[in-house]
C-alpha cells in the first residue's frame, strides 16, 4: 500500500508522516513536491502539517494554486483516502474539499499538548478500524485550529454524519475543547467519507516508544478502505 505525502514550501511534518505511515501500515510512502502534476500510483494521500506557503494571507489559502492540488482533487473525486493533518486540514478547507474554516484559537495561544478526541463515525476512510464513541489520545500543536461553520451549514454537517472527531474528556464526556472550536469539532469528512481533515497529529502517535499508538490506527484504517474500494471497483 503506497501513500503520497504532499510537500509544500513550509510543510514540516512530511518525514514524520512517511515514517508513521510505514510503521503503521507496513506500506511505503513517497514525498510529492507541490509542483508535481501527479501523485504517481499512490493508494492514499496525506497532506501533512506545517506552515505551507508561510501561512501567508490565511493558513492554507495559497496552496489551492499549487499544481499538485489538481491531482489531490482528482484523487478525492476518485474515492482515494485523503487525510489532511493540522495545516493539511486547513488546506483542504481552503481548497473546498472539506467544509468549514479554521480560525485563530479562542485563547489566542498556540496550543501544544495531548488531547482526547471521541470518534464520531467509523464510516470514513480513516476511521474504519475505530469504534464509534472510542476515545483516542493524540497530540495537537496549532495556533489556528478553531473550527467554524455558519449555523445552517453546521446543522447540515452534523445531520449527514460529517463530524469525524470531537474534543472530549478522558471518559468521553463533554469538554476538553482546547481552541474554542464550534461544537468541539476536531475533524470532519466529505460526504463520501474518503476525505478527512483533523487538527490532531496521528503521525506523532503511531508507535508506543513515542507515547501512543492511537494515531497509527487512524493511518491503518486506510488499508481497509482501499481494499474495499478495490473489491467494489475492480
Amino acid at each position: 500500500m503506497k501513500a503520497a505525502v504532499v510537500v509544500f514550501p513550509g510543510s514540516n511534518c512530511e518525514h514524520d508522516s512517511v515514517h508513521a505511515w510505514q510503521q503503521a501500515t507496513g506500506g511505503c510512502a513517497r514525498l510529492v513536491w507541490h509542483e508535481e502534476e501527479t501523485l504517481g500510483d499512490a493508494d492514499a494521500v496525506i497532506l501533512p502539517g506545517g506552515f505551507a506557503h508561510g501561512d501567508y494571507l490565511r493558513a492554507g489559502a495559497l496552496c489551492r494554486f499549487s499544481r499538485v492540488m489538481q491531482a489531490v482533487r482528482r484523487a478525492a473525486d476518485d474515492g482515494l483516502p485523503v487525510l489532511g493533518i493540522c495545516n493539511g486540514f486547513q488546506i483542504l478547507c481552503e481548497a473546498g474539499l472539506l467544509p468549514g474554516a479554521l480560525g485563530r484559537n479562542r485563547g489566542l495561544r498556540f496550543v501544544c499538548q495531548s488531547v482526547q478526541v471521541r470518534t464520531e463515525t467509523s464510516a470514513t476512510a480513516w476511521t474504519g478500524d475505530l469504534a464509534k464513541g472510542e476515545v483516542l489520545t493524540l497530540p495537537i500543536a496549532h495556533g489556528e485550529g478553531c473550527f467554524w461553520l455558519p449555523p445552517e451549514e453546521h446543522r447540515a454537517l452534523v445531520r449527514r454524519g460529517g463530524v469525524v472527531f470531537r474534543y472530549t474528556t478522558t471518559d468521553g464526556g463533554e469538554g476538553g475543547n482546547p481552541n474554542g472550536s464550534l461544537d468541539g469539532i476536531a475533524g470532519v469528512c466529505n460526504p463520501a467519507g474518503n476525505v478527512v481533515g483533523l487538527m490532531p497529529h496521528p503521525e506523532r502517535a503511531a508507535e508506543a516508544l513515542l507515547g501512543g499508538i492511537d494515531g497509527g490506527r487512524i493511518l491503518r484504517s486506510a488499508l481497509r478502505w482501499v481494499e474495499q474500494r478495490v473489491v467494489l471497483h475492480g
Binding site: A61, E94, A101, R106, W148, P150
Partner: protein, 90 residues
C-alpha cells in the same frame, strides 16, 4: 480608451458572529491604557491592489472577483472594496 491605474483598497474583517480573539485582546489592552470609551475592536486585514482598468467600476468588479476567489474566506470573513484613481497606466 486608455486603461487607467486604480488603487483598490480591500478591507477584510471577520463576519459578525465570528469570535475575534485578537480584537478581544486589543480591547483589553486599550481598556488597560484607560480607554474606557472602547466598546469593541475587530482586527482584520487591509490589502492594496494596483490594477489597470477601463474605469472605476471595472476596477471594482476585478477587485471583488479577487476577494471571492482568494482574498477573503467567505466562511469566516466579509470584505469591503474602495477604489481610487491612481494615474495613467504605463
Amino acid at each position: 480608451m486608455k486603461p487607467k491605474r486604480y488603487q483598490a483598497v480591500i478591507e477584510v474583517l471577520l463576519r459578525p458572529g465570528v469570535f475575534d480573539p485578537q480584537g478581544q485582546a486589543v480591547t483589553a489592552a486599550l481598556h488597560a491604557l484607560g480607554h474606557d470609551a472602547v466598546e469593541d475592536v475587530r482586527v482584520g486585514k487591509l490589502v492594496r491592489v494596483m490594477v489597470s482598468a477601463e474605469n472605476a467600476e471595472a476596477a471594482r468588479a476585478l477587485a471583488e472577483q479577487m476577494c471571492r476567489e482568494l482574498l477573503a474566506n467567505p466562511v469566516l470573513e466579509n470584505y469591503q472594496v474602495r477604489v481610487e484613481e491612481a494615474g495613467v497606466a504605463h
